[in-house]
């Protein structure tokens, strides 16, 4: 018996039963695609999450916990405990160790999206992913006090175009009873999608935020003290406070020195955090659920393999004639067992290959759409080591599962048996 005979017979047998087997193969393919997809997305989401902000060496805010500062400054979740005085920010700007600073002023919202008061330095210095810069998809960065730049998702969800007017709301909630309706802003630009919280931000100038809050010192507009839109450009609009700042350090080696300096400032209690460290801490909290998801997916694949073995065992009981003919022509019980093993692992291998093709084809087609419609940045990359391992485990599992009918066939072949196919050999 040559191995090629077994390959030839197994191939012909699979092809002969292709209609039934196509269905189990499809089930297995889909479940393996799911497994590959979950693992792939796990890696991607982790990657995207950890590169939500890059190039920024320190995030500076009022004294608070690391995660709180990271959450409100980068992810627009929660609120700051306190503000930074503008004078302190200006003093930091003079520090020669600090290369650049981006002021962030939070507090208002636009239909549930956070309004970020900042300036052109945000566009120039904020980086994400592999040190990728922000870019404007349409229009230009704001110039005027009452101009606004929208994140990609805000523009998509609210269906905004350049020159549209938007009215900001006071406070951070999705619904607000206090609108800044006396001071509508004009959309001057829309940012390109990044797959980060930047897409869900509404960006205005610090002066703009200052202007709409003149006369709001008590938290609500005081009659007669607010500033009409026309006059806003004529008065001095220097902010007194900002919420947080992003900093780039001239020489990386000085990062810890600057961090310590800021944390120990006498003039104002501040916190400076390393975004990378805070991000990985946050992921440790969030990352739990994805392991559960992967566990569920593994069970889906096991269920599919159980389906495959059910079909193969059912088919086996219909194959005694064929097996009798092969045995009568000199096929050994080992060859018969090898046929079952090859058919089962062959199907599993086919499923793994199809699943890989399916996943990459699907991803190739959907990735641009996911980024533009949902702001999900999923890169097309070759499988990682773990993903290869998962794909390889499918045919190996198929081989193990195939042992069941194979051992059965081998034992039947070595037992006194009837002659020909007229008798039932399925035992």
């Amino acid at each position: 018996m040559r191995p090629s005979v077994a390959f030839f017979l197994a191939g012909a047998s699979l092809w002969h039963r292709r209609r039934v087997l196509a269905l189990v193969t499809l089930t297995l393919t889909l479940s393996v695609t799911l497994l590959l997809g979950v693992q792939y997305l796990r890696t991607e989401v982790r990657q995207t999450f950890n590169s939500t902000v890059s190039g920024t060496d320190l995030i500076i805010g009022a004294r608070s916990g690391e995660l709180n500062l990271l959450l409100y400054s980068i992810f627009h979740i929660g609120n700051a405990t306190n503000n930074i005085r503008w004078s302190t920010f200006q003093k930091l700007e003079e520090d020669s160790r600090i290369d650049w600073l981006v002021p962030l002023s939070l507090g208002d919202s636009y239909r549930g999206y956070r309004v970020v008061g900042t300036d052109e330095r945000f566009l120039n210095h904020y980086q994400y992913g592999d040190d990728r810069d922000l870019a404007l998809d349409r229009g230009r960065w704001f110039d005027d006090v009452f101009e606004v730049v929208l994140g990609a998702e805000v523009a998509r969800a609210m269906d905004h175009a350049i020159a549209d007017e938007v009215v900001l709301s006071h406070g951070g909630g999705r619904t607000s009873f206090l609108d800044h309706d006396r001071h509508p802003f004009t959309v001057s630009g829309i940012l390109a999608p990044t797959g980060t919280p930047v897409d869900r931000g509404v960006y205005v100038s610090l002066q703009g935020l200052e202007a709409i809050h003149v006369g709001w010192e008590s938290g609500v507009p005081s009659p007669g003290r607010t500033l009409p839109a026309g006059k806003a450009r004529e008065v001095e609009l220097t902010p007194t406070h900002i919420t947080a700042a992003l900093a780039g350090i001239e020489r990386q080696i000085l990062t810890f020195q600057v961090q310590r300096h800021i944390n120990q400032m006498d003039t104002e209690p501040l916190s400076a955090i390393l975004p990378g460290v805070a991000l990985s801490q946050l992921w440790q909290v969030l990352g739990q659920f994805e392991s559960v998801l992967l566990g569920i997916t593994v069970f889906v694949v096991l269920t599919s393999l159980a389906g495959l073995i059910t079909v193969l065992l059912t088919l086996q009981s219909h194959r005694h004639q064929e097996i009798a003919v092969l045995r009568a022509n000199g096929a050994t019980p080992l060859l018969i067992a090898a046929l079952y093993l090859m058919e089962c692992s062959g199907l599993a291998l086919l499923s793994a290959v199809l699943a890989t093709l399916l996943w990459y084809a699907g991803l190739g087609m959907l990735a641009p759409w996911l980024l533009s419609e949902w702001g999900l940045a999923i890169s097309l990359r070759p499988p990682t080591g773990i993903e290869w391992l998962m794909l390889a485990s499918v045919p190996i599992a198929g081989l193990l599962v195939g042992m069941l009918p194979a051992v059965r066939a081998w034992r039947l072949g070595n037992r006194p048996s009837g002659w020909g196919a007229a008798r039932d050999m399925t035992g």
Partner: protein, 243 residues
């Protein structure tokens, strides 16, 4: 046909060189069953054809399963092509069957997923000896046999499901004949055919077997076929020994 290959085994077992089958006191008992079948002694010289007649339940098929080496008897002696089957392991019996024996069943003779040519060539895939015996081109030998057995040309690429019963049996006969095995075991291969086709089938089978020098053991309940054979054996129900 191929004197070389035959000579080696013949010289090794010179005492049985003049028989294809030699049995003495052959008995069979199914595991877990009390009834014991005892078979008459058989001596079959090479190239001769034996007709075994017996009613249902006389152990015709069981005898064939012993002669083919599918099952192994624990008592008596059974020599096929000079090899004592009662002493051979399962693997060695499978080897002997692949190399030396062609088999035709009553029905369901063909592997459903192989076409006509693939089914006929099956022994050549499973045995290097049969492949060697089939000449330079086994497919050409298969076509020759199928043509000699009267199978239409257009059936060559068909799967068994698209062949009539008569055609299937001819394909099975061609498969048993390819590579000129020393022995062909036929288990009522004509029971599903009408009288005219039955006689033609037996004639064609025996003629082709004579061409390749193969011995044929033909089992049937139908005494009308006995005329085609020079040697006869009757299995009777009374032969079953009750211990």
């Amino acid at each position: 046909m191929s004197q070389h290959t035959d000579m080696t085994s013949d010289t090794a077992t010179s005492s049985h060189a003049d028989t294809v089958i030699l049995t003495r006191d052959l008995c069979w008992q199914w595991p877990g069953q009390a009834a014991r079948l005892r078979f008459p002694d058989i001596t079959l010289p090479p190239g001769e054809h034996l007709f075994i007649r017996g009613a249902s339940g006389t152990g015709k098929s069981t005898l064939l399963s012993l002669l083919s080496g599918m099952n192994r008897s624990m008592t008596g002696t059974l020599t096929v092509h000079g090899q004592e089957l009662t002493q051979l392991s399962g693997g060695a019996r499978d080897r002997l069957r692949a190399d030396r024996i062609g088999v035709i069943f009553q029905q369901f003779n063909l592997v459903p997923y192989l076409d006509t040519l693939g089914n006929v060539l099956l022994p050549c895939h499973l045995s290097a000896h049969r492949r060697h015996q089939a000449g330079d081109s086994p497919p050409a030998a298969a076509r020759r046999l199928l043509a000699a057995l009267g199978l239409p040309e257009e059936c060559l690429g068909r799967k068994p499901a698209r062949l009539s019963t008569g055609q299937q049996q001819r394909v099975a006969a061609a498969r048993a004949l390819i590579g000129s095995p020393d022995l062909i075991l036929a288990d009522e291969p004509t029971s599903a055919l009408d009288t005219l086709n039955r006689d033609r089938f037996v004639r064609l089978l025996l003629d082709q077997a004579a061409n390749s020098g193969s011995s044929v053991v033909f089992v049937s309940h139908d005494p009308a076929l006995a005329g085609h054979f020079e040697r006869h054996l009757e299995l009777t129900p009374t032969m079953g020994d009750q211990p």
